[in-house]
């Protein structure tokens, strides 16, 4: 992709010295990260480094208490917003373990969610017909059957189907920033390619950005990151280009994070 020159960079996310605690335990210990529009970043790190905590903190999940630091998202103070307001501002989390909601169809769920976002943004709601058109296009693009969209959210879906469903949701909600938490886990090689292509198709645009959180290099074969960061013990300990991911794969976290 084409890069903007430095003074043209549009800030998307600016995390400054973020500290997060769950209960008494501090997990993030001064994490800083800047993401500009048009960029794809990957965060890699060993288990327990704080990857999921970072995801949930940015999403505003109750129980993840920010003890100090600041996060600016698209010009707004992210930390003062409720989870649904963050969503409406353009933040999307791809869940490591997508949640089942029995009795609520994907179509109903996403239409309500999208229209709730639109309402907060002062946009008119989509009618049933308009919504279905958008949903069908995204489902088709992800190779997902419309019948699956009519089934209850994630109920009876395989691991791969759930992840694919996350990508369909991302396509429908069309966020500015997607934080994808181990979206590659539990995927076979075909599904991995489909999901990777989905991320590129929806998010690789000059006005959007992605933060990929992953253990492994393999998703990065399909979604080429512009920057790779190593998260260890609640902090970014090293940053670099795509080559850093390969280095990590070769040498392991212990070596790099040390």
């Amino acid at each position: 992709m084409e890069f903007l020159s430095k003074d043209q960079l549009v800030k998307m996310l600016n995390i400054n010295n973020l500290h997060t605690a769950i209960g008494d335990k501090e997990i993030l210990k001064g994490l800083s990260l800047k993401i500009n529009a048009g960029e794809i970043h990957a965060i890699m790190g060993p288990n327990g480094a704080g990857k999921s905590t970072l995801t949930y903190t940015l999403g505003g999940r109750p129980g993840y208490e920010v003890t100090s630091g600041a996060v600016e998202f698209d010009g707004q103070d992210l930390l003062t917003l409720a989870p649904h307001e963050r969503a409406a501002a353009g933040l999307f989390l791809g869940f490591q373990y997508p949640v089942e909601i029995p009795g609520v169809s994907n179509v109903q769920f996403l239409r309500e969610a999208l229209n709730a976002q639109r309402k907060l943004r002062g946009e008119a709601p989509l009618s049933g017909g308009e919504f279905l058109k958008v949903a069908r296009a995204q489902a088709d693009a992800m190779g997902m059957n419309m019948d699956m969209l009519k089934r209850p959210v994630n109920v009876g879906f395989s691991g791969g189907e759930k992840k694919r469903n996350e990508m369909v949701q991302m396509g429908i909600l069309d966020p500015k920033l997607a934080i994808l938490d181990e979206t590659d886990s539990g995927l076979d090689i075909d599904a991995l390619r489909v999901v990777g292509e989905g991320i590129n198709r929806v998010m690789r645009k000059p006005d959007k950005a992605v933060l990929l959180i992953t253990h492994y290099q393999r998703l990065l074969d399909y979604v080429q990151p512009d920057f790779v960061h190593v998260l260890a013990a609640g902090r970014i300990v090293k940053s670099g280009g795509p080559e850093l991911a390969l280095e990590l794969e070769r040498e392991g976290y212990a070596e790099i994070a040390a």
């Binding site: 989870p83 649904h84 909601i101 009795g103 609520v104 769920f109 709730a116």
Partner: protein, 493 residues
């Protein structure tokens, strides 16, 4: 017992005397719309006279009253109810005790907020809230004037359907009423049924003649008359051979009501090849967040599937009342008869609900389905209590029961009490039960997609209750969905 109560309550005695003086004057014009406070044979006579009832009806009421005096309040339900002083209540025309309001500004803003959330048109809000002069306007606005009601009535009459207040029916169709009144729920059935028999104020009588499919849901009409719902309602619906009717009772809007004690009786009679679908949305005042006030709702509902291939389906959405004691039941006498019970019961704050059903299988190859969804939040308690009974000579009976409970928070309770009595070895009885909590994972997931907390709770709860909600007539299903969300406001977080 009456004497003791009367001497205890001098006010009631004086009032009763006054009524006795008044008694002979009833047939002309009476301004008095209240029976005096308290309950005595005089109260019963007052009500009967007020309705110009025939002698047999008065005798029936008095018999019930005398029987009631010998009975005791049932204590087996999982309900904590302070003793009720039956002498400290009005037994007639109490619904009209609603104070007329000058405008909507005088209505409790909390109630107005709920109306708004339900999307009830302004004029209809006025009617529900009891604003002076609103009724006619409201009827005009919503249903294009009384003439529509008349049109309905005409259409029903052409089909041969009798649809009357029970008081009218007692006068106009005494034989029909006499034939079935108290046959499904006998006056001695239980304490509250006996009380209802003695003092029922009004209600509905429906007769669907042989082979007739009722040309409309008897809901729209009812809605116009919603303000007539009384404290002691009595409903009798008879579906003759091969007929069908869908009846909808209640309203999703919270009704302003000064009465604390409600004891209704609903009797359904279904003959060969006939079907009744009976849907209820109950949203009486549940009391405040501290558990003060609220309606005590003691209801006896029963369907008699007398004919072969007869079918009854009860669907209820219970969100209101401080106390709910209610077990819509099916007596399946007919061969191949079918009973269904679909229920959503929501309790929040300090509400208590003990509700369920009885499926009494007397007929061969009779079948029943029970789907109960209980949702408890706050400090409330919800109980499913159900009986499945199979008689010795009822071969080939099948029952399927599913009881699911959903808990919000950690101070509420959900209880499931199934009773199964099977005396025939060919019966197939299945019972499934689950208890779950709305998980933080579900809530956060929904909120991350853009729903605020209340919408997220409402969405998850509606998914949980879907199997029941989809049994409701379309327009009510939509309102009921909103209602579930509103009933659970503030229950999380």
């Amino acid at each position: 017992m009456t004497n003791i109560a009367d001497t205890k309550n001098a006010e009631a005695l004086a009032a009763a005397n006054k009524v006795s003086d008044y008694e002979w004057g009833f047939s002309s014009d009476i301004e008095q719309e209240f029976a005096p406070k308290g309950l005595s044979e005089d109260t019963v006579r007052f009500i009967s006279a007020k309705k110009n009832e025939p002698e047999w009806m008065l005798d029936w009421r008095l018999k019930a009253y005398r029987y009631w005096l010998t009975m005791e309040t049932p204590h087996w339900a999982k309900l904590n109810i302070p003793p009720i002083d039956y002498q400290d209540a009005y037994y007639y025309a109490a619904p009209k005790a609603k104070k007329q309001l000058g405008s909507l500004d005088e209505v409790d803003p909390e109630i107005l907020r709920v109306y708004e959330k339900l999307g009830i048109p302004l004029e209809e809000q006025k009617m529900l809230a009891g604003v002076e002069g609103a009724r006619k306007v409201a009827v005009d606005a919503v249903f294009d004037s009384v003439s529509v009601a008349t049109t309905f009535r005409k259409e029903l009459e052409e089909a041969g359907v009798i649809f009357r207040s029970i008081s009218e029916a007692i006068r106009e169709y005494p034989e029909q009423v006499k034939k079935w009144l108290g046959k499904v729920v006998p006056m001695h059935d239980n304490y509250f049924a006996a009380l209802n028999c003695a003092v029922f104020s009004d209600g509905t009588f429906v007769y669907i003649p042989e082979g007739v499919r009722c040309p409309m849901e008897l809901s729209t009409y009812f809605r116009i008359n919603a303000e007539n719902t009384g404290q002691f309602e009595r409903t009798l619906i008879v579906a003759d051979k091969g007929s069908y009717v869908s009846y909808l009772e209640g309203c999703t809007a919270p009704m302003r009501d000064e009465n604390q004690l409600h004891a209704a009786v609903v009797e359904l009679v279904i003959l060969d090849d006939a079907e009744i679908k009976y849907s209820t949305v109950q949203n009486w005042y549940p009391g405040d967040a501290e558990g003060k006030g609220g309606i005590y709702n003691f209801v006896t509902k029963r369907a008699l599937c007398q004919g072969k291939n007869s079918k009854v389906s009860w669907t209820q959405v219970e969100t209101g009342s401080a106390v709910t004691w209610k077990y819509p039941s099916c007596v399946l006498n007919g061969e191949n008869s079918v009973g269904e019970f679909y229920s959503v019961a929501v309790t929040n704050n300090h509400q208590q609900a003990d509700t369920g059903t009885k499926m009494i299988h007397n007929g061969k190859n009779s079948r029943s389905t029970i789907v109960s969804k209980g949702i408890s939040a706050g400090k409330s308690n919800g109980t499913y209590r159900g009986l499945v009974k199979v008689a010795a000579n009822a071969d080939g009976v099948r029952n399927f029961t599913q009881c699911d409970s959903l808990l919000l928070g950690d101070q509420c309770g959900a209880h499931t009490v199934p009773y199964i009595e099977v005396k025939n070895p060919t019966a197939q009885i299945e019972h499934e039960a689950t208890t779950s909590k709305i998980s933080d994972d579900q809530l956060f997931y929904a909120m991350q997609r853009g729903l605020d907390q209340e919408s997220a709770v409402a969405l998850i709860v509606n998914g949980f209750a879907k199997e029941v909600l989809q049994q409701l007539p379309m327009e009510f299903a939509v309102e009921a969905q909103k209602l579930l969300g509103i009933s659970l406001e503030g229950s999380v977080g």
